[in-house]
Amino acid sequence: MSKFNNFRSKLADELEIPNNALSDNFELRMHGNKKVIIENHLGLTVYDENMVSIKTNDQDIKIKGSKFKIEEINNLKVIVKGNIKEIIFSMKE
């Protein structure tokens, strides 16, 4: 995470406003292990039935499981449905 982005994230926390309003951080929500909603993403890097990889500003998010479908994808958010087993965050090099 860049220093400026880090500062914006902290400022948002202090001001008690949504983090993604000031920073470029992604927001991840899960509905059980069946649905993942990721906001503030930068696109897909891998889409397979067993794995979906999503690029964000600082990290790549790998979702592993089975029967994956992308319910919706647009500039703002991506919704992935399926049986989720694992979510891995990896920092960009």
Binding site: G43, L44, T45, V46, Y47, D48, E49, F68, K69, I70, E71, E72, I73, N74, N75
Partner: protein
């Protein structure tokens, strides 16, 4: 998401399939172009997804370059097709208009509850009031029609309602009222039952019976012919009074000890018929599927179609029944016979009658319970009848004079 999908089902969407191994790239390109993509599924090596028809039109060059659209769906797209099929569109429009016109008119008038002569008279009255068939439903004011018919005919009850494309006029004719004897008309009082006179209260007229007399049905109790005090002539007067008499009612009843009753087995089978006018054609199910059954049927009207035509469906249900023998206990049988006896007594007596004595005996044999009873009742046994003066025939002597 459901609302979103429903919205695009109306506005139109395009299903796209790509066999490109780098399907992610396609999705990212579309995303960068601000194109919303949904229902992305893996299909073989490639993917299948949906985009809106608007986005497809805007970016058709790009999309056709990278992928192949498979199907275009949505209500708006269908409407666009209709634009080119003018004949079909005009036909459809004419059909809708004619259906609307046909269903908003009354094509038949049915009069229920009276004979053909009166029916023709009612139809004539409607025509006089400018209601000629066919007529628009909106022109029919049912309450106004009811008043009109009620005022012009002597009906007890009139109800007018519209059912589909039919105007139904339901009437109930007045029953002729029994002729009443006016209070100033000469009359006598006669007995309507065989009885023993208990009390005679004569207000006017000449009583011809006294307490303890045995009278028979039709016998005069109070005579409306009395002698004039001032002359030897007789005159006719209206009779009035109450004559109480003791009457005896005998009852003999029997009730089975073991009764056969039809009991439902909770099994049923349904049969459907297509009804055309008065004929019905069987569609599904069997006729008479059980040896013993209770059959009930109901008409299923097809919305719109049944209103215009006489086509409807008939649903018949056969409920299986079996005969079961039930033993009736003594107390129940006796109570039942007693109730039946008093019901019958109430029908045969007036409301103000009084039971003086009742003698009820029960007995039984192998098959039946029996009731033998005699009820002694005090009741008003008189009935007024009108009397008329008889014109005397002229004697031969008078003729000669």
């Amino acid at each position: 998401m459901l609302i979103f999908k429903l919205m695009y089902l109306i506005r139109g969407y395009v299903v796209i399939r790509t066999d490109d191994k780098n399907a992610e790239k396609v999705l990212n390109i579309l995303r960068r172009r601000n194109i919303a993509v949904w229902d992305v599924e893996k299909k073989g090596k490639g993917i299948k997804f949906k985009i809106s028809y608007e986005d497809y039109i805007k970016n058709s060059n790009l999309i056709n370059e990278i992928v192949n659209p498979v199907i275009k769906r949505g209500a708006m797209l269908k409407l666009n097709k209709v634009k080119f099929r003018k004949g079909f569109s005009i036909g459809l429009l004419i059909l809708i208009i004619s259906l609307y016109l046909l269903t908003s008119m009354i094509w038949d008038v049915e009069v229920v509850g009276t004979n053909q002569t009166n029916t023709n008279e009612i139809l004539g009255l409607l025509e006089e009031n400018k209601i000629k068939i066919p007529v628009s439903i909106s022109r029919i004011e049912t309450k106004q029609l009811e008043t009109l018919i009620y005022n012009n005919f002597e009906y007890k009850f009139v109800d007018v309602f519209v059912e589909g494309s039919k105007l139904i006029i339901f009437v109930r004719e007045r029953e002729p009222e029994p002729a009443e004897i006016k209070s100033n008309e000469p009359s006598s009082i006669i007995s309507v039952k065989n009885a023993i006179i208990n009390k005679v209260i004569a207000k006017s007229g000449q009583p011809v019976v006294k307490e303890g007399d045995v009278v028979y049905e039709g016998q005069t109790l109070i005579m409306g012919i009395v002698k004039n005090k001032n002359s030897d002539e007789f005159m006719m007067v209206p009779s009035d009074g109450i004559i109480y008499g003791k009457t005896y009612y005998n009852f003999e009843m029997k009730e089975e000890k073991i009764r056969s009753v039809n009991m439902s087995t909770n099994k049923s089978k349904t049969v459907y018929y297509l009804k055309l006018n008065e004929n019905s054609i069987k569609i599904i199910g069997d006729k008479d599927p059980y040896e013993r059954y209770d059959y009930r049927e109901s008409v299923i009207k097809v919305p719109f179609v049944s209103n215009i035509t006489d086509i409807s469906f008939l649903k018949g249900v056969y409920y299986e029944e079996e005969i079961k023998k039930i033993e009736i206990d003594k107390q129940t049988a006796q109570n039942k016979m007693k109730v039946a006896m008093y019901d019958e007594l109430l029908e045969r007596c007036d409301d103000d009658s009084r039971i003086l004595k009742s003698n009820i005996n029960f007995s039984e044999d192998d098959e039946f319970y029996y009731l033998i009873a005699q009820i002694e009742v005090i009741e008003d046994i008189g009935e007024k009848i009108r009397i008329f003066p008889i014109e005397e025939e002229q004697t031969d002597e008078t003729k000669e004079d």
